[in-house]
Amino acid sequence: MFLHNLFYELKSSLRAKELIIWLMIFPIILGTFFKIAFGDLYDKQTKMDTIKTAVVGIENDPNFRTVIEQIEQEDEPLLKAEYLDEEKALEKLANGDVTGVIYAGDDMSLTVSDTGIEQSVLRVFIQQYSTKAGIIKETLASDPSKLGEVTKALMADASPNHAEPLTKGNTDFYIEYMYNLIAMVAMYGSITGLHIAVGNQANLSPLGARKCCSPTPKALSTLAGIIGSWLVQAVCMVICVSFTAFVLKTDYGKNLPYVYLAAILGGITGVSMGFFVGSIGRMKNSMKVAICMTGSMLCCFLSGLMMGNIKGWIAMKFPVFNNLNPAALVADSISSLNLYTGHERYFTKLMYMCGISAVFITLGLILTRRRKYADL
């Protein structure tokens, strides 16, 4: 009997158009939009392109060519040089084909036609090169035996301050939108949970009344519905995470299995929330759907789906709220995988999700346990 109910619950849910639209198609469209809108914003703001440079008189300083060639072999080289005579180099500079013209030799100089970050970088680069080359030459002239020691010292970082990144994870803020997108899909699970509550109560739907007339216990049919919805929601979450990971190329590092787990648990929380809302009172179905959708979107808004910094603001002002907001819990749990080396925070968030789901399901079952109705 239970498996029969579960089988048809899965079948009807997977064929429900609104479920396919809201839980599969809409997130794919929104995720693609995020990718198009924000995908390369971080790169544009934080990363510098290779600087195209013309070098004149390289024959005067063969060591400089060696240095340039080493730089060019790096993954993201600082500059790309062309070795030209002065006339062609200046022509390219005038045409904007190169950012600057470096005159190699003892009196190294730089000619630029504009001011900006790239020009400043070139200036700092030739200053550092000139300084270090001068020291090496002076060492060779005065005491060649100390050349190795001097070179080693020059290679070392002279600064007493050492930059240590806060995280080894992806610091691209765009990725936060993807976490919130996953949270949003999890919250939309509330619609399927809502239908379970409505579809099993005689005073809320003809289908519920019809089921209540059958010899199948209400608890069994409700439980089959809830588990069916959890499974369907889990499939939707897997599709959503897979789409962001493999199609939109969101970098989850080595944490993808944990992301799946958090997303599925988030989906279960969403379904449970919907079941609870569906169990309250005798409002029209459309009203309950509206409450679920509004509640879901509010949770997503407060977790940063529309305004990236709102979650941080809430964390400062009402720190407890982020542990009660299911959407924030989903986004935070995935975010913690990226930002923290350990999994303590991740599992704490998962525990909160389990707790909230248990509360919603228990309250929902209590509210729907009534066996006879005063009015139909």
């Binding site: 059958s214 010899p215 005063a374 139909l376």
Partner: protein, 316 residues
């Protein structure tokens, strides 16, 4: 004497101030087709919902198959088939799947269930539509699907709550024939409707309800015998004088004459050859008349005479 299948004893159901069922009692015997007839809002569906233990009631007792009916009387529920007024099917499941789903709530054995589902599909004539989704079905076919979902598990007691509302004549006939067939196969039927023709055609015993009360009960002949009217003669005739109307009123067994200038409606109580006597009187006075027809009393006449109002509106 046949066993009682349903026994409703003195049920009282209130919706706030409104008394929906007022000390209502019924005793339905095995093998009967029992009709609950009454206008909209008379308490038919409330009776059914109380009977099924969906609705809480304020007073009284309900027994089905000799046992007290409660929401957890699963052994009783197994024997009941319910066809509700509102179609209750899954939009996302096909005709076959819907019937299989509801049948599966009663029958665990897959093989047996498959046979039962096929029987139900053939019974309601939806063989060509088994892979259709409900939204693709007409109103009549949808009602038939609703019935198939309710009777697929071969119940001993079948409750049909206004199953022919908004159904085309072809589907209505199919449904009524099906109900008669189910009864021939041994099922006890409870049929609620405000269509008196259906109730007259189908039911072996009828209870007429109004304002939550049972106002009459019996076979259709017993009910008709309860009232004064036994025959109504209608004559299309122009220009009847008051003296002529008085003469008609004075005929034996005639107790009421109404005339609107175009037709005379003459109500008779008992007696034989009323029609012949009326026509003889008109011919003797050389009154020419058009169409003449004689009607035996209907359940509507019964309802009209008992309550002073028509059973249903003319537009119905």
């Amino acid at each position: 004497m046949a066993n009682s299948v349903v026994k409703i004893d003195n049920i009282v159901k209130r919706y706030g101030e409104l008394l929906a069922l007022d000390h209502f009692s019924l005793d339905i015997k095995e093998g009967e087709v029992f009709g609950l007839l009454g206008p909209n809002g008379s308490g038919k569906t409330t009776t059914i919902n109380c009977l099924l233990s969906l609705l809480a009631y304020d007073k009284g007792d309900i027994e089905i198959f000799g046992k007290k009916m409660t929401p957890v009387s699963y052994d009783i529920k197994k024997k009941i088939g319910i066809i509700m007024q509102n179609v209750a099917v899954f939009d996302e499941l096909t005709v076959y799947e819907n019937i299989d789903y509801f049948c599966g709530l009663y029958i665990n054995d897959k093989k047996l269930r498959k046979q039962y589902v096929e029987d139900a599909i053939n019974f309601v004539g939806l063989g060509d539509f088994r892979k259709f989704y409900p939204k693709k079905l007409s109103g009549g076919l949808l009602r038939r699907l609703n019935i198939a979902c309710g009777i697929a598990h071969k119940p001993k007691l079948i409750i049909l709550d206004e199953p022919t509302v908004a159904v085309d004549p072809q589907s209505r006939n199919k449904i009524l024939e099906g109900i008669e067939s189910l009864n021939r196969d041994g099922a006890t039927i409870i049929y609620t409707s405000h269509y008196m023709e259906e109730v007259e055609q189908l039911c072996t015993r009828i209870a007429i309800m109004d304002k939550g009360k049972k106002i009459a009960e019996g076979s259709k002949d017993e009910l008709k015998r309860m009232i004064k009217n036994t025959e109504t003669v209608t004559v299309e005739v122009l220009g009847l004088t008051q003296s002529m109307l008085d003469e008609l009123s004075a005929l034996p067994h005639v107790y009421d004459v109404k005339y609107d200038g175009q037709k005379a409606v003459i109500s008779c109580s008992g007696g034989k050859h009323n029609l012949i006597r009326i026509l003889d009187t008109l011919q003797k006075k050389e009154v020419s008349f058009g169409r003449v027809y004689s009607e035996l009393p209907t359940l509507n006449d019964v309802f009209l005479e008992i309550t002073g109002k028509a059973l249903r509106d003319k537009e119905d």
